[in-house]
């Protein structure tokens, strides 16, 4: 999205001929290449005073840390990527200079302070931009420190504005200024405050907080009332936020445990190597990204099946080599799979080094969906939540609709009788274990978007996974679903009051006590045989 915007803008300004630029501006720009970081703010201020929209590309590139100058003749270039290759092009000319490599250019430095200033500058310059979104964000940017000048500018722009959301934002800014301005009449200020009480903007709230200390008691009271109203809706949104956090944590738990719900829940293998299957999936994502560095955005779609295959095949291998010899000795599987998990950990440590590997988030998954100023949902978690549910449904379908599901349960209940009924138990075992492991691998793809990809990744999830499966009731997929979300939500609602550590402890204690009430989990298996 951002990139598209940027491209459009560049398009707009491409037409602007360089020679139109004032000499003064040119001098200032060349000063950029020589000034020390600490003196930069002054230069920037001058530039803004000089400049107009034509300088926006410079500022933007600067803000993004992509502004360079050539060592040879100190002219400004922008670093961009074209088809995955890093290239440099002229700021105004927009022409790629193929000669330039990283050795021939130097970066124009930027630090946090400058970035802050640059943002303000860009915002002010953008007030007249053609894009309504840009105008809106420009106004929002200005909310924090409104002064007389901005006020008059906005006032002048307001009547011409056609776009409603920009209008609203402008109105908010104007009201905020009016409310704060002691020179305005009290009624105007009160009207402004009333208008503000519907806004969720952060800066509005801060402004109102200031106003609530106002010397004018009427204004203070009105501000307080407005604040109350705002806070109420903020609280409502905070609740939604928390719920989302809980669901999101739940979806992670679900993904992590759902494979185990098969290998452990259905097959009865106490699979201590489950975490390592997740880890393998995460590493597969890494390798896929290594192979296709220029297509990170699509890499996920390759990584999901690849991770399923890698972890699944590893699962089949483990089953064929080890687990199949341990039928009827479920406890021993604990020992063997623990050994396997040690081996797998050390294996990736040897192959990939003990360091964490870098997995990038595709651009369509990064950032967040801003619903309003106080509620935004992070995209990656949103996708993962949806993905977890999807995987869950797919799995339920496989187990319910295909003969594999039936066979697997038969085999786990009475192996020799299943054989006598013509069930190919070996094949069923291998497939099921492969399926469970493969799903774990898929979970690894999702987790690689959230957390470390390192040799200890699996260890971090194994205990939670077992907890979820058991809490839900062994052998019950729906149980795992409910358990995962219950634990996730409980955790996230406790956390603000107790802190992360105590929340985790409380949840554990809750599980322990809950199991006393329902010794077979949330959804116990019923019937005579279960006793």
């Amino acid at each position: 999205m951002k990139r598209i915007l940027r491209l459009c803008l560049i398009g707009i300004f491409m037409a602007l001929p360089t020679w139109l630029m004032a000499v003064e501006t040119k001098n200032l720009l060349s000063e950029l290449t020589q000034t020390k970081l600490s003196k930069m703010p002054a230069v920037l201020e001058q530039l803004e005073a000089q400049g107009d929209e034509s300088l926006l590309p410079v500022f933007r590139a600067w803000l993004g840390g992509d502004l360079y100058y050539t060592r040879a003749d100190s002219h400004l270039v922008v670093k961009t990527k074209v088809a995955g290759e890093t290239v440099y092009m002229g700021v105004f000319s927009q022409e790629v200079d193929a000669e330039l490599g990283s050795k021939q250019v130097r970066k124009i430095k930027v630090n946090n302070k400058l970035r802050g200033l640059l943002r303000g500058t860009i915002a002010r310059l953008q007030l007249t931009s053609k894009q309504p979104e840009l105008r809106e964000s420009a106004v929002r940017e200005l909310l924090a420190d409104l002064d007389r000048d901005t006020f008059t500018t906005l006032e002048a722009l307001y009547p011409q504005e056609t776009h409603s959301s920009v209008q609203e934002m402008m109105q908010t800014a104007l009201s905020l200024y009016t409310a704060k301005d002691p020179k305005q009449s009290q009624s105007a200020r009160l009207a402004a405050i009333d208008y503000l009480s519907a806004s969720l903007e952060n800066d509005v709230r801060n402004g109102l907080v200031q106003l609530s200390q106002d010397g004018n008691a009427v204004i203070a009271a009105a501000s307080n009332k407005a604040l109350d109203r705002i806070n109420q809706s903020v609280e409502r949104y905070a609740f939604v936020d928390q719920l989302f956090f809980g669901l999101s944590l739940g979806s992670v738990l679900l993904l992590a445990s759902i494979g185990l719900a098969i290998t452990f829940g259905v097959m009865g293998v106490i699979n201590m190597a489950h975490g390592e299957m997740i880890m393998l999936g995460a590493y597969t994502t890494y390798v896929v990204q290594l192979i296709m560095p220029n297509y990170i955005d699509y890499s996920i779609w390759v990584a999901i099946p690849a991770a399923f295959l890698v972890s699944g095949l590893m699962g089949v291998l483990i089953e064929r080599l080890v687990i199949c010899r341990l039928h009827g000795r479920p406890l021993e599987t604990l020992l063997a799979t623990f050994g396997i998990s040690l081996i797998l950990q050390q294996l990736v440590r040897t192959i990939f080094s003990p360091l964490n590997r870098q997995v990038s988030t595709p651009s369509w998954m990064s950032g967040s969906w801003e619903i309003n100023p106080v509620l935004s949902l992070t995209l990656n978690r949103l996708y993962i939540l949806a993905f977890a549910l999807l995987v869950f449904i797919a799995l339920v379908l496989i187990l319910k609709k295909s003969s594999l599901g039936l066979n697997v349960r038969a085999v786990s209940q009475n192996r020799s009788m299943a054989k006598a009924m013509g069930v190919k138990t070996e094949w069923v075992d291998a497939m099921t274990f492969g399926l469970g492991s493969g799903i774990a691998g898929i979970a690894g793809v999702a987790l690689s978007q959230l957390t470390n990809v390192g040799p200890n990744l699996g260890q971090a999830y194994i205990i939670d996974s077992f907890m979820v499966v058991v809490f839900g009731g062994v052998g019950n997929l729906l149980g795992a679903l409910v358990a995962a979300f219950t634990l996730g939500i409980a955790n996230k609602f406790l956390e603000p009051t107790t802190g992360a550590v105590l929340a985790a402890i409380f949840v554990l204690v809750f599980i322990i006590l809950f199991i006393q009430k329902r010794p077979k989990g949330l959804f116990p298996q019923k019937g005579r045989a279960a006793e």
């Binding site: 039936l406 020799s416 009788m417 299943a418 006598a420 009924m421 069930v423 298996q525 045989a529």
Partner: protein
């Protein structure tokens, strides 16, 4: 049909079957009898492939069976109703019956099963493990019939079955045998039932077949010698 030659079998260190020879006449109902613990169940499991044999060979229609895995034997046409029924307890009745469908490449449970055991139709959606003993027994036989076997092994099928159903089971066995030519191997302790249903008998003692003949020839001497305590 099935013939066993010098089959020996061990549990750990103790030998249960001793160079056992057995011939099952095709299309007949053979009753295997003997005291508790002589190895009848062991013998059946060996035929089904659920226990490895130490030596000897088992042939089905002259084909070596003993080298095949148990599931292959199900495909080869052996149906097994084990002692103690071994229903899949957490599967529904329907699922219990469906397990065997792929063997005959079928999609639906043959109606015949429900004709023979109407109870199963009523209980279709209940867990197999919840059924009463007798119902489970019917389910176990029904389940084996789904395989449409050529040889049906029944290990004490009447244990714990109400009298009218015992009779019914007997009728079913006879009917299957007569109408479809199913070969039946039946382990039975109750003489009455054995006499009614069986056409051949084999007496076992200490892991060997010690007497084999037509059912008519099962006399009191034999009974006293091999079945009395």
């Amino acid at each position: 049909m099935i013939s066993m030659k010098k089959v020996s079998q061990l549990y750990g260190g103790t030998q249960i079957l001793w160079d056992l020879d057995l011939d099952i006449v095709p299309g007949s109902i053979t009753c295997i009898m003997g005291r508790n613990g002589v190895g009848k169940t062991t013998l059946m499991k060996a035929i089904m492939g659920l226990l490895p044999i130490k030596s000897g060979e088992i042939l089905l229609n002259q084909q070596a069976l003993h080298k095949q895995s148990a599931e292959r034997r199900a495909y080869a046409g052996i149906g097994y109703v084990p002692q103690g029924r071994d229903i899949f307890p957490m599967l529904t009745v329907e699922e219990n019956l469906r397990i065997g469908l792929p063997v005959q490449k079928k999609k639906a449970i043959p109606e015949k099963v429900f004709e023979l055991f109407p109870v199963l139709k009523e209980m279709l959606h209940r867990r197999g493990g919840d059924l009463s003993g007798g119902q489970q027994q019917q389910l176990a036989i029904g389940r084996a019939l789904v395989l449409e076997p050529k040889v049906l092994i029944l290990d004490e099928p009447n244990e714990g079955i109400q009298p009218n159903i015992v009779k019914q089971i007997g009728d079913v066995i006879l009917k299957l045998n007569e109408e479809e030519g199913l070969t039946v191997i039946l382990i039975e302790q109750k003489l009455g039932f054995a006499r009614r249903v069986g056409k051949e008998f084999r007496l076992m003692e200490k892991g060997r077949i010690v007497a084999a003949d037509k059912m008519e020839n099962l006399n009191d001497d034999l009974i006293k010698q091999y079945l009395a305590v």
